[in-house]
């Protein structure tokens, strides 16, 4: 340890590792992870969310696996909860997950193409 800057570097890197352990009142991303969701590929999607959020240091956003959301035909389903506002996405793959983080979470603009209701099979 040669200087205070060295310590700060370690601290900044390490903070990512523990930032989850605090109050998380921010946005929540719920990934439908019932059997149907998992078989439709929800697990890599969830991991993609975690990775994208971490890369962008979006510490207040949490990712939670949840049970069956009900529309098994259009899994994987992902919900974004911002306070009272709920946006439900369907047929989410890793590419869409990246878009949701980039356009919705960061940009504040819902990814219309994959919102339930707008989605056309």
């Amino acid at each position: 340890m040669k200087s205070l800057d060295d310590l700060k570097k370690i601290r900044d890197a390490a903070q990512k590792k523990v930032s989850m352990r605090g109050k998380n009142d921010g946005t929540r991303i719920l990934v439908g992870m019932a059997t149907c969701g998992i078989s439709a590929g929800a697990r890599p999607v969830m991991n993609k969310f975690v990775e994208e959020l971490s890369n962008r240091s979006l510490d207040s956003v949490t990712v939670t696996p949840v049970g069956c959301i009900g529309e098994c035909a259009i899994e994987p389903i992902v919900e974004v909860l911002e306070g009272e506002k709920r946006t439900t996405y369907c047929r989410v793959d890793v590419r869409v997950a990246e878009r949701i983080v980039k356009e919705h979470i960061v940009g504040g603009k819902v990814v219309q193409d994959y919102v339930i209701g707008k989605f056309r099979i």
């Binding site: 040669k2 200087s3 601290r11 523990v18 989850m20 019932a34 991991n47 975690v50 949490t62 696996p65």
Partner: protein
């Protein structure tokens, strides 16, 4: 891979003794089986504090607090919560569940919301075996500030301004102590961490060392810099194997990062820390005895002056600080003395950690601002007395302190107020005594301890404690007289004023304080030959009341078969054969057995 959830497993000694040790392996097994092992981070933390409800598992990001977790529950937590994202409601600590089944953050429940955590700021939140987690919580920044931006004298001034006083019990201002050592010029000085926690019922230091060892190391280094010592010792009893292990890991990690060693932060300051193990003698918590023990001698105290700050370890100026004191120091340096001094009262600044024990619902580790009342600690944080019994007294300071009666529960906790009440702050053991306890018996318990722990060097302590214990035994056997109580009081005062060190000087405190507040209870032992608490065996007998439902449980479990009665009929006890073991009373489902 970046983890999406952190699972914190409390690995404080209390939780480990309640079965937490195997939880980690169990998680490994089930997470691996479910194929989600690398998505979840498992962290063994230090004591979470609410020991009564342990072992604990806390799952982030939700902050769900699972209590009383057993091995078999891990499968459910993994499958339901971590795999499917469903709460395992039956395991959630009920105080964190609202009526609508919403989870409230566990730091909002009563046990935590009344607390202010400075010394315990990281306990239960970080992995004590990972220095990076400590650094992430601004660890070692206080040290950096001290070494690079402040002179040793400025550090001392900062400590004085904070008003921090020794948390080992004495309450001597830490800054002032450091100043003495600073002013004693010498080519070699030492700083020692006193981790020889010995009071029965006290486990604050152990929890701190196990849960956040780096905060103690950092405090020790800051102290070393302030007084001009480049060598620190941690004197810890061998009865604390986990704490020792965590300390060793912490020291080697700090060395690896260059936070211990030569030229720390490029400041030119060198520091080294060595662990010294004590055999677990109570007297070695006393400064001069502790020094003798480190030097390799027998743990015996000596006369002061010279004080260790002038002539201590190997004749060199030495500062000895308690674990909790040291854990406060990095926070004071980093956040500034002013912030610390705002907490607490005029005379006692900051917070104090207490280990709550005895007849209390939420036994565990709590940290409260000075000036909190005893009633708040017992009823709001501690959750009150089990079975709705009446509170009788609180013993603070362990065998060196005294009992504070129920009538004084609204007293603010400060060094001075506790002394005025005939007790002392002590290192932080707080034993709650309910109406079913006998004060004579409690005195006897503490004296039994001090007799055992007296080093034997000075006569008042060696002989006095023994004689006091004998007198208490006479009183509790019902063979004493009022004159015995007077003699006991006189001897207690003599031992208090004439013993060599703190052990003997404080040993009579339980007797003196209980005589002051509970004298009638002593008197009824010798005059009416009655033990009001129903504890002293020679003075009590057991009786079965009409409420008996005839379940025969007492008769079946009596080790001497002195209970008779047929099923669904009132039972009775043959008192001549009864050995007063109390098994029947404890086992009775309708509380129909009483002591008289």
């Amino acid at each position: 891979m970046i983890e999406r959830a952190h699972v914190l497993i409390c690995s404080g000694s209390m939780c480990v003794s309640r079965g937490a040790k195997t939880l980690h392996d169990e998680f490994e097994e089930h997470l691996t089986r479910l194929g989600i092992r690398d998505e979840i981070k498992l962290v063994n933390t230090g004591c979470v504090g609410l020991c009564e409800q342990g072992p604990f598992v806390i799952v982030y990001p939700e902050g769900v607090f699972y209590a009383l977790v057993k091995n078999k529950d891990i499968k459910t937590i993994c499958e339901e919560h971590l795999f499917k994202g469903r709460l395992v409601e039956k395991l959630v600590f009920d105080e964190t569940l609202t009526e609508n089944k919403d989870i409230i953050a566990f730091d909002e429940i009563k046990f935590y919301s009344k607390q202010t955590r400075i010394a315990l700021r990281n306990c239960g939140l970080i992995n004590p075996d990972d220095i990076e987690e400590y650094i992430a919580r601004d660890g070692y920044r206080g040290l950096g500030k001290a070494l690079l931006e402040m002179t040793p004298l400025e550090v001392i001034e900062e400590m004085l301004a904070s008003g921090l006083r020794g948390r080992g019990g004495g309450g001597f201002p830490t800054g002032l102590k450091w100043k003495f050592a600073y002013n004693n010029k010498n080519d070699q000085k030492y700083i020692i961490c006193n981790a020889d926690e010995g009071d029965p019922g006290a486990f604050m230091d152990r929890a701190l060392l196990e849960g956040d060892p780096h905060s103690v190391l950092e405090g020790l280094m800051i102290g070393g810099y302030a007084i001009g010592a480049n060598k620190g010792f941690i004197y810890v009893r061998i009865e604390y194997p986990t704490a020792i292990e965590k300390l060793k890991t912490a020291i080697s990690q700090a060395k690896e990062l260059g936070l211990l060693g030569n030229n720390i932060f490029g400041s030119g300051f060198d520091f080294d820390i060595e662990i010294r193990l004590g055999a677990g003698a109570f007297v070695c918590g006393e400064e001069t005895a502790l020094i003798a023990s480190i030097e390799g001698g027998r743990g015996m105290s000596r006369n002061k002056p010279p004080f260790p700050a002038a002539k201590g370890l190997w004749g060199k100026p030495t500062i000895i600080n308690n674990v909790e004191t040291l854990a406060n120091i990095p926070a004071i340096l980093f956040d500034g003395a002013e912030k610390f001094a705002k907490i607490g009262t005029e005379r006692s600044k900051g917070t104090k950690v207490f280990s709550l024990g005895g007849n209390i619902m939420n036994a565990g580790l709590v940290e409260v601002p000075m000036g909190t009342t005893l009633r708040e600690v017992i009823y709001e944080i501690g959750g009150g007395i089990p079975k709705n019994k009446m509170l009788k007294a609180v013993q603070t300071g362990g065998p060196s302190g005294g009992a504070i009666p129920e009538s004084m529960m609204d007293m603010k906790i400060e060094y001075e107020t506790l002394i005025e009440a005939g007790s002392m702050m002590g290192s932080g053991g707080m034993v709650i005594i309910d109406e079913d306890s006998c004060m004579v018996d409690i005195c006897r318990f503490y004296l039994d301890f001090t007799v055992e722990e007296s080093c034997g060097k000075c006569t008042p302590c060696r002989e006095g404690t023994k004689k006091m214990l004998e007198m208490l035994e006479i009183i509790s056997s019902g063979e004493g007289t009022l004159a015995d109580i007077d003699r006991l009081e006189k001897l207690a005062k003599t031992v208090k004023s004439s013993s060599l060190c703190g052990l003997g000087q404080a040993a009579p405190n339980p007797i003196l304080s209980m005589l002051e507040h509970f004298r009638p209870e002593f008197e009824s032992h010798v005059v009416e030959k009655v033990c009001p608490g129903g504890v002293c065996k020679p003075l009590i007998h057991f009786e079965i009341l009409d409420g008996c439902i005839g379940c025969t449980k007492c008769a079946t479990n009596c080790p001497v078969d002195c209970i008779s009665g047929s099923i669904k009929q009132l039972h009775s006890i043959d008192t001549s054969a009864c050995i007063k073991c109390g098994v029947c009373k404890n086992i009775c489902p309708v509380d129909a057995i009483i002591t008289i």
